[in-house]
Assembly symmetry: C2
Homo-oligomer: 491 residues x 2
């Protein structure tokens, strides 16, 4: 088949995205800043491959109802392989495979793409970047507290102000305790239904949760969700629990003691939260930055102890309504994940940041220079003078100035259009006349555009000399520097 016999459609698969320039750099900048914080806290970088044996990734998929969907898988060498869907499952495989060599406990951070074979939607991609920190081999609640304190330092490092975020912490053992206190220690199925109901507080409100704990609930679309069929006393107990005022950690601890402290599991959860509070206090993380919130469940089935999530409190506009920005990361304690390989329980806790969420947050916070200045463009007006332009570009780069020579085949007009598309702040023009005079012309593109706007389509401004200046060849670098400083100021 010859190359041209059939044209291929140039199209990426749905749910994937291409990122150019500053958009591509933003995620990397965040990950590198977060990584520096994590390193300072003693977390060691880890890199594992994208591909794992499917059975090593296991069944710990986000959606309980379709545990085998969601991953990209293929058969190779008669074994099923999958692209990782998160960074926790590969960590469990790694920690089990390298358990002899690793320090115990093992603190690691990791970043990289993960893949989900799910229906893509707006802002919902099938490949995205995660940035995780985990402590493997410690059952000490101090490890959970450390995770929260460290993640809060990371958020501040990427520009979220101290007043702009809050961590919400809960304990699965406290949840278990409160369910036990209403006689739900037996049926795993009812407990899951209850947890799913509690998890919906944000979306359906107290009334909705009460319905889901009772006979069931019909949503706006008319769909009916079967309830947990609890009696009204049990429902009241649970509602009281999840609506405990969260403004003071000590207050929540008192409430938890009253509502869940009466059995062993609830008491253990209470102790866990007390020790977390202790270390958070030592690290200076007060009630305003980290709250205990009994309504936090977190969907993943595998959490066994503390669960925590980070929320940005600033508002954003969606569908013309102001809404809270919401979660940028979450995690918790999962003591069973590594036992799948080793047969032994290995206590672990970890936190995962949604990197693209943080990019969006930075944009809202005005931390990102969306309107980035492009490079200096040297026009190439005479085909046989490329060496002249390249030498000038080299001088500019040697002075630290991002610069490039136009390499297309177009004339003056195409070259200026190119400079526009590249957001060039400055264009350097050397035609035959300039060369003969030993001069270069330096054009300030922003000033030019502004003048052009003022004067309309009239081309007169070009001759006005205001937006461009001719100087001696030897003054090239200095004059470009001056023009760049002006452009920088005008941003």
């Amino acid at each position: 088949m010859s190359i041209e016999s059939r044209l291929i459609t140039a199209k990426k698969p749905r749910g994937f995205v291409d990122r150019r320039g500053s958009e591509a750099a933003a995620e990397e900048a965040i990950v590198s800043t977060v990584g520096r914080v994590y390193e300072k806290w003693g977390f060691e970088r880890l890199e594992t491959s994208a591909i794992e044996f499917t059975e090593a990734l296991g069944k710990f998929l986000p959606d309980l109802d379709r545990p085998n969907e969601g991953v990209f898988s293929f058969l190779d060498d008669n074994c099923w392989h999958s692209l990782r869907y998160d960074l926790t499952a590969p960590l469990a495989r790694f920690a089990a495979e390298e358990r002899i060599a690793l320090p115990k406990p093992y603190r690691r951070w990791q970043t990289g793409p993960v893949w989900r074979n799910e229906k893509p939607g707006p802002g919902r991609f099938r490949q995205f970047t995660q940035c995780d920190a985990d402590t493997v081999g410690s059952d000490n609640p101090a490890a959970d507290a450390e995770m929260v304190a460290m993640a809060s330092e990371a958020l501040e490092a990427v520009g979220v102000p101290r007043s702009g975020y809050v961590f919400k912490i809960n304990s699965r053992r406290v949840l278990n305790g409160v369910m036990e206190s209403i006689g739900l220690s037996g049926s795993e199925r009812t407990r899951l239904t209850v947890m799913r109901a509690l998890d919906k507080l944000d979306r359906v409100g107290v009334e909705g949760v009460a319905s889901l704990l009772g006979q069931g609930r019909k949503d706006d679309s008319g769909d009916f969700t079967e309830g947990a069929k609890l009696d009204s006393k049990a429902i009241q107990h649970l509602i009281e629990f999840i609506t405990l005022p969260t403004n003071s950690r000590a207050g929540v601890l008192a409430g938890v003691e009253r509502l869940a402290g009466g059995n062993e599991e609830g008491h253990a959860g209470l102790k866990e939260l007390q020790r977390i509070d202790d270390v958070l206090g030592a690290l200076g993380v007060d009630d305003s930055r980290a709250r205990f919130d009994p309504s936090i469940v977190r969907g993943l089935e595998y959490y066994t102890g503390a669960v925590y999530e980070a929320e940005l409190t600033m508002t954003t506009v969606e569908d013309n309504r102001a809404v809270a920005f919401g979660a940028v990361g979450g995690g918790g304690r999962y003591d069973d994940l590594i036992a799948r390989f080793t047969g032994e329980r290995v206590p672990a806790t970890g936190f995962s940041i949604g990197v693209s969420r943080l990019v969006a947050a930075q944009a809202l916070l005005g931390q990102r220079a969306i309107d980035e200045l492009g490079p200096v463009i040297l026009l190439a007006l005479e085909a046989d003078q490329m060496a002249v332009y390249f030498r000038m570009a080299m001088e500019l780069r040697a002075a630290g100035i991002r610069s490039e020579v136009y390499l297309g085949a177009g004339g003056m007009k195409a070259q200026m259009k190119y400079a526009d598309k590249r957001a060039a702040p400055v264009v350097v023009i050397v035609g035959g006349d300039e060369r003969a005079r030993g001069e270069v012309t330096i054009k300030d593109m922003r000033l030019g555009a502004a003048l052009s706007k003022e004067i309309g389509d009239n081309a007169e401004w070009r001759e006005s000399g205001k937006a461009q200046i001719s100087v001696a060849r030897a003054a090239l670098v200095d004059e470009v520097k001056r023009a760049l400083a002006r452009a920088e100021k005008q941003r």
Copy 2:
């Protein structure tokens, strides 16, 4: 199935690798340094996804003889998808898909993992990182020259000395010209056999190439490779061409003119090399850093003009023999890749760096601190004093010192073993006695290890007080700083 009912083997698929700590950081550091250089030359960062439609990746696979092998592929939504095997094929798809929006020419750099479904071997992985720069939409040989000059700046930026590398440049058009000059303009098949023979100069020497151009060649294992069956005059012409002395670009140009300049294609190739020489000269890249080398073919079938590769000239030891380190990157001009989508020829040129090769080179050049110092470890000797240790760790981190609290369940011995595994230069010890006295004990681990070695297994040195010192709690940060400075000096 309960979690423990069957243990899963903790194993990564063959041909993949896990990287810890400084090993994981090394690749990223290289890519980020190279990226900074490329940005300065006006190349814009691009990020595309790992997954593409298989047909978009096309048939441009490295191995001519098995064009459909080598990629990881899977069926999704009734379409074949593949993991990218390089960064050039996705660029072609992207440049075609976004051809309206992109500046023309479009300069981009990109990094990320690529996957090859090939037999893994020593140092040969099925996932590895590439770092590419490409200029799309320019047929100007200045674009090729720029690529070589920029890549050489990148090599120096990651620590390769100016005397430690050489770029070898050739032109496919010159190769076509020299083949035309011996009457080989017709048969595509013979031309490919000839190019494959010339490409083997490094491995089989002049005699071997001559055999492969003639009747054929039997290698050491007895395998026979059919030759191109050229007559001796043609063989002599080709051998003379590929053995032209490469120490001066001007000299090679003269030789090319003599041996290949007699037809249109050869003349066009000659002009191409002349213009590359011109721009390289303007950019200060002399004969010692960039040579014209007529023996350079490069395997990929799709190159249409200049081809170039970067070699490190230092030697390394393999199988107890000193051998040249060899190639760390390569590329060339491929004018047909985008036409598969658009039907129109889009001239392009690009260079790809093998990042793991550069990591190995840095290690050989002594640029990497393999023996990296770990964090300061604060022992946790009393379970109810975690807040005390965490507060100290916070103070150390606030002073910029990487620090962590031991979070395992072990006693003194296990904690010291942990500190060893973490390569901790300094350990901070606060037991009940120290607390009562308002002191902290700071232990210099290297000094301790040295003394321990001197004195043998005798535990006396521990009491000698030489490797550890007790100071007032308030002096913690200053004393740790002092101990770290000492450790840094001893490296």
